[in-house]
């Protein structure tokens, strides 16, 4: 019913969830650009994802073996990849802030602080366990399906179910 209503009134349909706390928690919907773009503007994100997907495979960070090596301290590879990515990210964001770099549409780049809540501890521990079992975080789940490990479709569906159950139980969980 919900979806139908939105489809019926795409222009006047208002944001149903106005709880900024809920939205900013996940850093989604917080960059409220007033600009309206046609769907094909999103193709650039497909290409960005494509490059990221190639990187995930070639760096072997989607490999269950590499994840086991990481958690058993048997290889530096994963630490090197994540560490180098973070350092590059820190420098990039520093440059963006320093030179007030704008988006390709000329809008100022906005960054939003993350609020601390206990979910980062409990959820973090649970996700860590899932990462060690599946050898995959969400990005690699999509990538693994692309590599031909089709059984990961089930793992992805299970992850969607996990997200749904979290949404369902959210009010009862400590945050």
């Amino acid at each position: 019913m919900e979806t139908k209503d939105i489809i019926a009134q795409p222009v006047i349909a208002k944001e149903t969830n106005t709880d900024f706390e809920v939205r900013s928690l996940d850093t989604i919907c917080v960059n409220e650009s007033r600009m309206e773009h046609s769907w094909w503007h999103s193709i650039k994100y497909l290409i960005a994802g494509l490059l990221f997907g190639i990187l995930l495979v070639k760096a072997e960070v989607i490999s269950w073996f590499r994840i086991q090596e990481m958690f058993r301290l048997q290889s530096f590879h994963m630490y090197g990849v994540i560490g180098a990515a973070v350092v590059t990210g820190i420098i990039s964001i520093w440059i963006i802030k320093k030179f007030k770099v704008k988006t390709i549409y000329g809008e100022p780049i906005e960054l939003h602080p993350k609020q601390f809540n206990k979910g980062q501890i409990y959820g973090g521990l649970l996700f860590g366990a899932g990462w060690a079992l599946t050898g995959a975080c969400p990005g690699p789940l999509y990538a693994l399906i692309g590599t031909g490990a089709t059984v990961i479709i089930v793992t992805l569906l299970s992850a969607i179910a996990g997200t749904w159950v979290y949404g369902r139980m959210r009010e009862k969980l400590p945050h």
């Binding site: 994802g49 494509l50 990187l55 760096a59 630490y79 993350k114 809540n117 060690a132 599946t134 089930v154």
Partner: protein, 189 residues
């Protein structure tokens, strides 16, 4: 053709790591998007099975960029596997290979152990726990934590957010405990 041969090899961390880090400014410059993958799972819930749950009642259409991004990941992985692959088995630390041998894991031809990651394996206890229970924990845990490796460990740390550092440390603690203490029991099932 030297170059093509070179990129077909696995890429070392000092090549792949910085390139992954560059996804952060790329998405920001493309349209003010914060790098993060696990949100896509929430958008899929919001789009397909919102079930009147407040957490899924938002305008997910504003976030379709994220769904394009994850579709791209799938496609990119396909391209890399089909055309940027030298067909060599994955090289792991001999200590790991030795450990895994006792659980009947010998095949290194694929990026994941084919003994575990196959359809019939879903019907075994160890396959079910790894693939289904593991997947559930990934989806539940990332949303509870408000992000995953990309959103917290890479994007959050790049923006010097201490809550992301807490989350990243917890990812690692959960992983260390599970991989070293719990996984050996599961692999023996």
């Amino acid at each position: 053709m030297q170059f093509l041969e070179w990129i077909k090899q696995p890429w070392p961390w000092y090549v792949a790591g910085p390139l992954i880090g560059l996804v952060v400014p790329l998405l920001l410059i493309m349209g003010n998007k914060s790098f993060g993958v696990s949100s896509s799972l929430r958008h899929i819930c919001a789009a397909c099975i919102p079930a009147d749950i407040p957490f899924f009642k938002y305008n997910w259409r504003k976030e379709t960029w994220n769904l394009f991004f994850v579709a791209g990941i799938l496609l990119g992985a396909f391209i890399a596997t089909q055309w940027l692959n030298n067909g060599q088995p994955i090289a792991v630390n001999p200590k790991l290979a030795n450990d895994l041998q006792q659980y009947n894991i010998h095949n290194y031809s694929s990026i994941v152990p084919v003994e575990l990651f196959n359809w019939p394996s879903l019907l075994t206890a160890r396959g079910f726990i790894l693939l289904v229970v593991g997947g559930f924990l990934v989806g539940f845990g990332t949303r509870y934590a408000g992000g995953c490796t990309s959103g917290h460990a890479i994007m959050g740390l790049s923006n010097l957010q201490w809550p992301s550092l807490v989350a990243t440390c917890c990812f690692m603690i959960g992983g260390f405990i599970t991989a070293n203490l719990i996984l050996p029991v599961i692999l023996n099932l």
